[in-house]
């Protein structure tokens, strides 16, 4: 059997493109918009979310037979909140500047619908290994969109990538100007709208 036909492969790769959490399932949009002004914050946020999602899926799947049905949401939130606190403390200790820029959005991973959504629909009914793969896959799908939007906004909005100037000075001398619009809130909404349009058109063919 080829590796691309196995179940594990499918679980891992479908959420990255076809049923992408942001553009396909419309989950977790808040943070996708807010942290993408710069590429650096977008990447740190993606890592934090992928970590929390993978661990929460794994833990909830391990406990899925112990969790009583009626109080499952509270149990899930407790697991997620604990992981988020952990991620937040690590960011504060090692990447203080970035964690200041992300401000409240690391904390808001708790209410990010991707995590609760995957826990509810997948981890509660599937074995740990597949849930872990599903978590990582969805995390990467989210990261993919976040990084694309981050690149677009930083490149067009500030002419930089990772804080280094990419567009040469000669362009500015010739009259090129940064689109200040991309750095502001409306730019994020419109950039995501256009990316979803592109993705839907491409994947249909």
């Amino acid at each position: 059997m080829k590796i691309t036909r196995t179940k594990a492969f499918k679980i891992f790769f479908t959420p990255i493109w076809e049923s992408n959490p942001i553009s396909g399932q419309i989950l977790g949009i808040c943070s996708a918009l807010a942290v993408t002004v710069q590429l650096k914050t977008a990447i740190v946020m993606s890592l934090a979310l992928t970590f929390v999602l993978a661990c929460s899926n794994l833990l909830i799947s391990l406990m899925r037979k112990l969790i009583p049905r009626n109080i499952r949401i509270i149990v899930e939130l407790t697991v997620i909140a604990t992981l988020v606190i952990f991620a937040d403390q690590v960011l504060k200790a090692f990447l203080y500047d970035v964690s200041k820029q992300l401000s409240i959005f690391v904390g808001l991973i708790i209410t990010n619908c991707i995590i609760l959504g995957r826990a509810e629909t997948y981890a509660l009914g599937n074995p740990p290994f597949h849930s872990l793969l599903d978590g990582i896959g969805n995390g990467l799908g989210y990261s993919q969109i976040l990084i694309t939007v981050g690149v677009l906004r930083e490149f067009f909005g500030a002419g930089k990538l990772f804080g280094f100037q990419v567009i040469p000075d000669a362009f500015y001398a010739a009259g090129y100007e940064d689109m200040g619009f991309m750095v502001l809130a409306p730019g994020a909404f419109i950039a995501i709208g256009l990316i979803v349009w592109l993705q839907k058109t491409v994947s249909k063919e």
Partner: protein, 202 residues
């Protein structure tokens, strides 16, 4: 007083919790198809935000912030790292309690808001407002005004969106852009309109 008016105007228009800080997008996109449900959810969010933000202020300042436990004899304890988990627990508890109280004493209000209350516990606007309240160092009165006016701003945005979506049914939208794509672009245009208010200074 002037300070409070400026917090109100800022959180309704310039720093609208949805259009400038992107909080509560999920329910905004899902619930804005019909006018009545949009108004219902908007009212419920305003109601819950005006209660949870001040309650979380009290919890934070008397239990969690550095030195807050001085009254209990632990002046050097700093529990602020627990704020995420405590805030979400407080919000979930308040939403649950509100649902029961409204059901018991105000049946007409329950019919209008009841369906939306459970949804609200995981709306990121609610947790986001509490976290902003900590980050911006509001005092108690300011946190009351901030909670209520953020809720009002959120409601304004979702009701406007429901109105636009009603008209949108008659528009000829390109195939791949339907639903999600076009809603994002419209929200972007709305955000631009709201940014015009940033010229107002008090």
């Amino acid at each position: 007083m002037e300070n409070l008016i400026s917090i109100f105007l800022n959180s309704v228009f310039v720093g609208n919790i949805l259009l400038a800080y992107f909080l509560g997008m999920c329910s905004f996109l899902a619930i804005s198809r019909k006018m009545e449900t949009a108004i219902g959810l908007g009212l419920a969010v305003t109601f819950v935000l005006s209660i949870t933000t001040p309650v979380n202020w009290l919890v934070y300042h008397y239990l969690l912030s550095p030195g807050a436990l001085a009254w209990a004899g632990f002046p050097r304890v700093d529990l602020s790292f627990l704020k995420f988990i405590i805030f979400i627990a407080v919000i979930a508890a308040i939403v649950q309690a509100l649902e029961m109280i409204i059901d018991r004493y105000l049946p007409p209000l329950y019919i209008a808001l009841g369906v939306f209350l459970p949804l609200i516990a995981v709306n990121c606007a609610i947790l986001g407002a509490s976290l902003f309240m900590v980050e911006r160092n509001y005092n108690f009165i300011e946190s009351v005004v901030f909670g209520a006016s953020s809720g009002f701003g959120w409601m304004l945005a979702i009701v406007t969106m429901a109105g636009i979506r009603k008209k949108l049914r008659y528009a000829n939208v390109p195939k791949g852009l339907e639903n999600f794509g076009i809603s994002m672009i419209i929200t972007g245009l709305m955000a631009m309109a709201f940014m015009l208010f940033s010229g107002i200074t008090l």
